[in-house]
């Protein structure tokens, strides 16, 4: 089976309908579902990631491919109940109290989801207590926080303090980002990682989980 397989292509160009159709066809032809995922879907997503890294793809292509992958997985999921095609890890994400800046966070979500992470989006202006509560509920591997204002970045520290107070700090890795944030500030508040750009978030998430 080679790279020119329709499923691989459909994901690469972000055509969800075609990807699903190709999957159903392959299943009907008796293909092993797990093999389908590993040999074609995963490889297509890896190629999408590579193209994005090289700046041949932009975010829209990345997101469309991720959506096509989701469509293609639908007929497969029921067949793989007991096998792990689960996510690389679970990330809880939000902008800190007082901060309303969506799009950086949303980009990070897109990057992470594109890389196979499960992401729980708490939205913007998230109070420390809500981070704590959701950690208890969702048991994520990583908590990601962003702040775009010099006057909201101190809320990162407040949030980490609240996590400590609640005894959940050590259950998660904490990563932070946003225009006024620096590596130094991340170190000072005791975060586990910092990235300057949204596209650095995937590598960072993998690094802190390693």
């Amino acid at each position: 089976m080679d790279d020119h397989q329709p499923l691989y292509e459909a994901i690469l160009i972000g055509d969800g309908k075609a990807a699903r159709a190709a999957t159903e066809q392959a299943l009907a032809a008796g293909m092993d579902p797990l093999k389908l995922v590993q040999d074609h879907m995963m490889r297509a997503m890896a190629e999408v990631g590579r193209r994005f890294e090289c700046h041949d793809y932009f975010v829209p292509e990345l997101l469309l491919a991720a959506r096509a992958m989701k469509s293609a997985l639908e007929p497969i999921r029921p067949l793989l109940k007991n096998q792990s095609i689960g996510p690389s890890g679970c990330v809880l994400i939000g902008t800190v109290t007082g901060d309303l800046h969506d799009i950086g966070k949303n980009l990070v979500i897109a990057m992470l989801e594109g890389a196979g992470f499960e992401v729980v989006d708490l939205g913007v202006n998230v109070p420390p207590g809500q981070f704590v509560q959701k950690i208890k509920e969702k048991n994520p591997h990583i908590v990601a926080m962003s702040a775009l204002l010099t006057t909201t970045m101190p809320a990162m520290k407040t949030t980490i303090d609240a996590l400590k107070q609640a005894g959940v700090r050590n259950q998660v890795k904490i990563i932070v980002g946003g225009a006024p944030i620096t590596q130094k500030y991340a170190d000072e508040i005791g975060a586990d990682g910092y990235t300057e750009t949204a596209s650095g978030a995937v590598a960072l998430a993998r690094k802190v989980m390693a």
């Binding site: 700046h55 041949d56 932009f58 975010v59 829209p60 292509e61 997101l63 469309l64 007082g98 309303l100 969506d102 799009i103 949303n106 980009l107 897109a110 939205g123 913007v124 202006n125 204002l149 010099t150 006057t151 970045m153 101190p154 809320a155 006024p180 500030y185 750009t197 949204a198 596209s199």
Partner: protein
């Protein structure tokens, strides 16, 4: 509501810095757009919380900023100065704080006037805190009320220019940007954005009238500049951001239709288009706003500016002084050159403008769509369109055409991987329905309607 159906500046050569067909004279007698480019200083707090307990320190910060910056401006004999106070969200949520800080700034400005004869005017830019709730309540509720109270109190205190970076339409536009979806962009800017602008600026005009101050202008910051930042990070194509910029002018225009008289808000890089349409003076920011963000528009942004801004800088110490003081110095020197060129007459100013434009325009499509020629061309199709939806579509198509032609003629560098996007955007725009109602019907079936309150947009 005053629809602009012809251009105030019909010829690209008349679209230039320092001169606006309809200048604005302030109480102290600064004539913005009247032949001199003025510096416009912006600033923000260093990393710190803003709450009841830190307010004494917050006051000290603003007092220090205004004293330091105005002393430097007086030393350097600035011909005048626009000060912009862009509040931080807690200062809009607690109008008393925003108003008190406005007074502190006005006091500093009055003192510099008394002591050094330095003329200045305050622009107040409260936050559009309506988006603190999701979905945002755009036309009522405590956040909305507090925002209006901030405007009202600051205008009463003496802030003469009212501005905001309003967010109506962002609920849909953010995702449209990330998906490279021009239909969503148009819906966010020219349907939702236009409707919210019309509502909001009608409210603000009431406040301005009450206190005898001016509605200055809005900016499609959360739209056009978000696109620019994403393009700068190579997240979306530059040509896409360039087309978004052109379309964004339609949204920003609504402020002027509702009574704004300029200077348009600094971060509205679409302002040259609006200057061509309205004839009002415009604030612009460029290279000397690198403290706030990088841009491919560092010089070209100055080509049609009437005030020249640094966008925002934290009040932190650089070796040469506090950053706002450092930046006011840089702005003043920038303005000195423009004003020397202006003093030498029309041809001289056009010579300088040529260098400002040429130094950026060929390097990035986002710069190319803002050359005086491009700006006037886009402005023209906007005023000729029957409604905002059609205007947005026409602006987008014109931007695409300008870029295709310029690329064909070797006048602008467009990366190979972006070329398919030009075609894709043209197709999308051409395939749009002719009527706004049909477009709305189509889009309401597609967009995530849980993200906004349809009634707040008359939808």
């Amino acid at each position: 509501m005053n629809r602009f159906n012809k251009l105030a500046i019909d010829h690209p050569a008349d679209l230039r810095f320092g001169i606006a067909p309809k200048p604005l004279t302030t109480r102290q007698g600064l004539k913005l757009g009247g032949g001199i480019v003025y510096p416009e200083l912006n600033f923000t707090l260093p990393p710190m919380f803003v709450d009841e307990s830190t307010m004494p320190e917050v006051r000290e910060q603003y007092r220090g900023i205004i004293q330091g910056a105005l002393a430097r401006a007086a030393e350097l004999e600035a011909p005048g100065l626009v000060v912009e106070f862009e509040t931080l969200p807690p200062m809009t949520e607690h109008p008393a704080w925003g108003i008190e800080l406005t007074r502190i700034l006005l006091d500093g400005m009055a003192e510099a006037h008394a002591r050094h004869g330095l003329k200045s005017v305050l622009r107040i830019t409260p936050n559009d805190t309506r988006e603190m709730e999701r979905p945002p309540r755009m036309r009522s509720g405590p956040l909305f009320e507090a925002m209006l109270a901030t405007f009202d109190g600051c205008a009463a205190a003496g802030a003469e220019l009212l501005s905001i970076e309003s967010v109506g339409g962002k609920e849909i536009h953010d995702e449209a940007l990330m998906m490279g979806d021009l239909r969503g962009v148009l819906f966010g800017l020219c349907v939702m954005g236009v409707r919210d602008m019309r509502f909001l600026w009608t409210e603000l005009q009431r406040i301005a009238d009450k206190h005898g101050v001016h509605c200055a202008g809005d900016t499609a910051c959360g739209f056009g500049n978000t696109a620019m930042v994403l393009a700068g990070q190579q997240m979306i194509p530059r040509v896409f951001a360039a087309v978004v910029r052109a379309i964004s002018a339609v949204r920003t225009l609504v402020g002027y239709e509702c009574g704004c008289v300029g200077p348009g808000k600094d971060c509205g890089y679409e302002n040259p288009i609006l200057k061509a349409i309205t004839g009002f003076p415009m604030a612009m920011e460029g290279r000397t706003a690198a403290c706030a963000h990088s841009s491919p528009l560092g010089n070209i942004a100055a080509a049609a500016c009437d005030t020249w801004s640094n966008e925002s800088v934290q009040n932190i110490k650089l070796l040469g002084g506090m950053a706002p003081t450092v930046y006011v110095e840089q702005l003043i020197y920038d303005c000195r050159v423009m004003n020397q060129a202006l003093a030498d007459g029309r041809d001289a100013a056009l010579q300088y403008r040529k260098w400002l434009v040429a130094s950026d325009a060929a390097l990035d499509p986002q710069a190319y769509v803002l050359t005086p020629e491009s700006a006037v061309a886009i402005a023209r199709v906007i005023v000729n369109a029957p409604n905002h939806y059609a205007a947005g579509r026409a602006a987008g198509l014109t931007a695409v055409k300008l870029l295709r032609d310029a690329h064909r003629d070797g006048q602008v560098k467009i990366l190979k991987r972006e070329l398919p996007w030009l075609e894709r955007m043209q197709k999308t725009l051409e395939s749009l329905p002719a009527g706004e109602n049909q477009f709305i019907d189509e889009m309401m079936g597609v967009v995530d309607t849980s993200k906004f309150v349809a009634a707040d947009y008359e939808l």
